[in-house]
């Protein structure tokens, strides 16, 4: 202490005023300034906290939340599409999709990402711009193994952290366009679809059915995407994972198609243009439906590139068109059974009525030829042989006697001129001419001469293969027309009941039996042991709207039609084949025969091996020709 006191004393001596109590008071002003400064510092600090914690803490808690929780979608698989036996037609395959997290996207990264993944930069940038609202944007589906390796090694925080792989489902369609038109395809929802009311609960970037069953039953097939939340720390370690919402897979869709028949029909149509439709006339179930040329829907699944699309859409043969429901072609001679039926029902002819065919006839100042004109006609010919030999002159006369309106009345009963109402989008309405129709369409009177060619399925009358199959099928089961459908309904929907005279129907069917089994025009469709009935048709292209005026149209040959059903006594199946440019109806009959054979072979197979599956259930009404007049549901 000595030193201290010494110092102190010394200081006191030298500068007494500086150590005196009063002198230190002089400094109090400065101390006060320091106090105010302290207050200012603390106010400054508190205000900073105020700004962060009280004024807008939501911004920061959101930021903290985003810091740690990364949410990614769990994509739901679409339902499969099955055939009537439960065999898978359209499947899903697990794959990876690449998505970009919007809040991490850096525009300058995009060219490099596009280059590495072989994407078109312009398209990619456009897509990112378009999907402004989506937190995540799927930019590539079905990422290949190479790309996965590239993505996973470039996802680090310094390179392209916006990339993220998620498990996705790739739609898998049969190869070679099998049943492509029926199945349709899926694609990214378009701007215009998004704005339409039926897609209210869809979002940008969703995959939806674009055509066929995929579109018709989109609600059933599509599942609901889930969400996964991952707790991430600052190193990118995923600490915890929770499924905020599980994905709900779409429901499978069981169709009435029979893959056996479909396969045979597809094979039979290979290399041809046209369509095949097989129906169960007793219920309207579609067993097979083929349209050729076809396309590969696998190319379309998900996000199709522009080039692929253009290639298919600009094909002159229009592979995208479903000829089975969209072709509008003259039915040709396949219409004759309905002319005959109308004649019998109205009484203008009976089963004994005979006409003379010299190879042609004149009506209203025009000469109408029979197809056997060069061979000198059919001579004297009855109804049965008229149908069997497809004598044009016979039906000219019947049509002449009927007049167009009575003919149209029965044709419309069979479904001509109406949509069938099948559960597929974009079915086309065809034409059944009548005086009313002409007045409505052209503001002109009907000329009686026009009736003559309608009687043999030419002229203004058009039909699609499906319509023809439904019409003939309804006739075959005694005049009850069921609505064709692809997805099994609890009970078949009867569109129209004819209440026809069963004898008249029998007469027409007998004529069609003759077509196949008595050396008629359809003799190539005959099957051993099964009484096949049928009718050929060779339709001129005069009314072919599709090709009229195109270059192809001028070089086109006649379309070949064949309608066949079997067995004669209780028809179970009706098959229509359209062979575009097939020249003559019998060209199409081979196709029908193969399909019918496939049907009956399968039936035999299952009768012998019932344990295989309960595939073809015995259908109820056996007394087909006098059904208890089911009520028309219209």
């Amino acid at each position: 202490m000595a030193v201290t006191e010494n110092d102190h004393r010394q200081a006191d001596e030298v500068l007494p005023e500086r150590f005196s109590r009063d002198a230190s008071k002089a400094l109090s002003g400065k101390i006060a300034i320091f106090q105010y400064l302290t207050v200012a510092v603390f106010v400054f600090l508190v205000s900073a906290f105020w700004k962060l914690q009280v004024q807008n803490p939501d911004v920061y808690s959101e930021a903290a939340e985003r810091n740690r929780i990364k949410s990614t979608p769990i994509l739901a698989p679409r339902g499969k599409i099955l055939d009537r036996d439960g065999r898978v037609i359209v499947d899903n395959k697990a794959s990876y999709s690449l998505l970009l997290n919007r809040d991490q996207i850096k525009p300058e990264h995009l060219p490099a990402i596009a280059e590495a993944l072989q994407l078109d930069y312009g398209e990619l940038a456009g897509k990112i711009h378009r999907m402004g609202a989506n937190p995540q944007i799927i930019i590539k589906d079905q990422v290949s193994r190479d790309d996965i390796a590239w993505i996973e090694s470039h996802r680090d925080l310094d390179t392209y952290p916006e990339m993220q792989l998620i498990q996705a489902w790739r739609r898998q369609y049969p190869q070679d366009g099998l049943a492509a038109h029926v199945m349709g395809y899926v694609g990214e929802i378009s701007e215009s679809e998004l704005n339409s009311p039926q897609f209210l609960d869809y979002h940008q970037g969703d995959i939806i059915g674009k055509d066929g069953l995929e579109r018709q039953y989109d609600q059933t097939l599509r599942g609901e995407d889930g969400q996964q939340r991952v707790l991430v720390d600052n190193m990118g370690h995923e600490r915890e994972m929770e499924n905020a919402q599980d994905a709900v897979p779409g429901k499978d869709l069981r169709t009435t198609l029979d893959l056996d028949l479909q396969a045979v029909a597809e094979l039979a149509m290979e290399g041809k243009r046209g369509a095949v439709v097989a129906l169960d006339p007793r219920s309207g179930e579609v067993l097979a439906m083929v349209s050729r040329p076809s396309y590969d829907p696998n190319k379309f699944t998900g996000r199709i590139s522009k080039n692929d699309w253009n290639e298919i859409a600009n094909d002159p043969y229009k592979p995208l068109m479903d000829r089975a429901i969209q072709a509008e072609l003259a039915p040709g001679s396949t219409f004759k059974p309905f002319t005959a039926l109308a004649g019998l029902e109205t009484g203008v002819i009976d089963d004994q009525t005979e006409f003379h065919c010299p190879g042609g006839a004149s009506f209203y100042g025009h000469y109408f030829a029979c197809w056997r004109q060069k061979q000198g006609g059919h001579g004297k010919i009855s109804l049965h042989r008229g149908i069997a030999q497809s004598c044009d002159v016979y039906f000219y006369n019947v049509a002449n006697r009927l007049g167009i309106d009575r003919l149209a009345q029965y044709a419309e009963l069979a479904g001509f001129g109406h949509k069938t109402g099948i559960d597929l989008p974009n079915e086309r309405e065809s034409t059944m001419p009548s005086t009313k129709w002409k007045m409505r369409m052209f503001r002109q009177k009907w000329y009686a001469g026009e009736t003559i060619s309608v009687g043999i399925g030419q002229g203004a009358i058009t039909v699609s293969p499906l319509q023809l199959a439904a019409a003939e099928g309804g006739l075959a089961v005694g005049g009850n027309w069921y609505q064709p459908h692809l997805v099994k309904t609890p009970s078949p929907k009867l569109l129209r009941a004819g209440h026809l005279n069963s004898q008249n129907v029998q007469d027409v069917i007998y004529g069609m039996y003759g077509v196949v089994n008595e050396g008629g025009t359809g003799r190539f469709a005959a099957l051993p042991g099964i009484k096949v009935c049928g009718k050929t048709g060779t339709a001129q292209l005069a009314s072919n709207q599709l090709l009229k005026g195109t270059k192809l149209g001028q070089t086109m040959k006649d379309n070949a039609w064949f309608v066949g059903f079997a067995p004669e006594e209780a028809p179970e199946i009706v098959v229509v084949a359209l062979f575009e440019n097939g020249e003559h109806g019998d060209r199409a009959s081979w196709i029908v025969r193969d399909v019918l054979k496939a049907y009956f072979d399968k039936k035999a197979r299952e009768a012998k091996a019932p344990w295989q599956s309960a595939r073809i259930q015995p259908f109820v009404p056996r007394e087909l020709f006098n059904p208890p007049a089911p009520e028309v549901q219209q």
Binding site: V90, T159, F524, K608
Partner: protein
């Protein structure tokens, strides 16, 4: 505290009063609701007087009221708009920022020599963040290093360059959880992804069906377009089947964390080394995709099939065996219930029946069920065909029912 109370009493009281009000204010702002109770008290207290005033006011200048309300609303609207704008700006600002983790920076430089295709570099430091899986090397853009280049040692892979400074580069190690490497096994050429995120190194994306044995070595596959193909990666320690994918544990042959001398792969050193050391931080260097593999393993990658395809194939082969061309003019009636004869059918017979099926009259007599000798054999059946032996009577019947087709 007596000193505080005495000497700074006023200051302390001031502080307390203000802090109390501030906290109360904060509470209101935070809960964002009007303080009903106090306002109700206050309003009740002044109501009598206000009532009188109000009555006078209403009788005299009632119309002014609307005017003021409107003013107030407009003012409020403007304030809210301004506030909204500011909040939105804040929002965008923070959204743009939360991206990535701590960088470190270079320490000292070191000298090393450079061979032709690779360039040797020395690890000079760890990242400043203790948990970061990154190191610095003493080579930078002046040595031709670019972002995205691979870093290896003769023993195994190390990492990739993630940021380049003129004299130093930062290397992200393969042990970083965000970094995966495309790898390929030595024997089976099985491809997978190396992931060392969770302490242990595993190879992902290997199907359960594929064959990988412990002890097998893995090499880089080149698919990641960072590491050239064929660099050693590690040796398999254990293999276990997992859910869908195999659980393959790997021991790295390199020592990413402890390596001291490394090689940076200057792919394309034969090209001119970029002169401008402008570090393009946005895009990373990328190798071209690896050439298609020589072992042709990818070739037989069967097209994905659904059952529909199988049915179609079945009918196709059936038709071919019977010599039937579907839908063709003049073709014979097919028999779909015949078994697709695979091996038991004598080829001679098949050849015999094949040529000109259409020209040959359908002579098959009742005694000629010869074309179906394969009924009893059980070849590999396609899907959808009867699994059990179909009852034999089917065969004799069919030819019996056959009629000559009408000509």
């Amino acid at each position: 505290m007596e000193a505080l109370l005495g000497r700074f009493r006023t200051l302390t009281v001031l502080l307390i009063v203000i802090v109390a009000q501030l906290l109360y204010l904060a509470y209101q702002v935070k809960t964002n609701r009007d303080e009903r109770l106090i306002r109700v008290w206050a309003v009740t207290a002044v109501t009598p007087m206000a009532g009188i005033v109000e009555a006078i006011r209403q009788n005299t200048i009632g119309f002014m009221r609307d005017y003021f309300i409107l003013l107030d609303v407009r003012d409020q609207n403007r304030r809210l708009l301004a506030e909204n704008k500011e909040l939105r700006m804040d929002n965008i600002y923070f959204r743009n920022q939360l991206l990535t983790a701590e960088h470190a920076r270079a320490l000292v430089l070191f000298q090393a020599q450079s061979p032709s295709k690779t360039i040797a570099a020395r690890v000079i430091g760890n990242s400043t963040v203790a948990t970061a899986k990154a190191v610095f090397i003493d080579r930078g853009s002046t040595s031709g290093i670019e972002k995205g280049m691979a870093v290896v040692t003769p023993e195994g892979v190390i990492g990739k360059v993630v940021s380049v400074y003129p004299l130093v580069s930062q290397v992200l190690l393969v042990t970083d959880p965000t970094f995966k490497v495309g790898v390929e096994s030595q024997k089976g050429h099985i491809h997978g992804l190396l992931d060392c995120g969770r302490g242990k190194c595993v190879v992902e994306q290997i199907q359960n069906e594929e064959k990988v044995d412990p002890g097998e070595r893995f090499f880089t596959s080149g698919e990641d377009r960072i590491f050239p193909r064929g660099f050693p990666v590690g040796t398999v320690v254990s293999v276990q089947p997992g859910q869908g994918m195999k659980d393959v544990k790997l021991e790295l042959s390199g020592t990413p964390g402890a390596a001291e001398e490394v090689l940076v792969v200057l792919q394309g050193v034969h090209q001119s080394i970029p002169v401008a050391p402008v570090v393009d931080e946005t895009t990373a260097k990328m190798l071209p995709p690896p050439p298609p593999e020589a072992d042709g393993k990818t070739a037989p990658a069967a097209k994905p099939q659904t059952e529909a395809d199988k049915v179609l194939q079945k009918y196709d082969t059936l038709g071919k065996e019977e010599g039937h061309v579907y839908g063709a003019i003049g073709s014979t009636v097919p028999n779909f219930n015949a078994k697709p004869a695979a091996e038991s059918k004598p080829p001679a017979q098949a050849a015999e029946s094949e040529p000109a099926p259409a020209t040959k009259p359908p002579v098959p007599t009742l005694t000629a069920p010869a074309p179906q000798p394969s009924v009893n054999t059980g070849p590999a059946l396609p899907l959808g065909a009867p699994r059990r032996k179909p009852p034999p009577p089917a065969e004799p019947k069919t030819p019996a029912a056959e009629q000559p087709p009408p000509q």
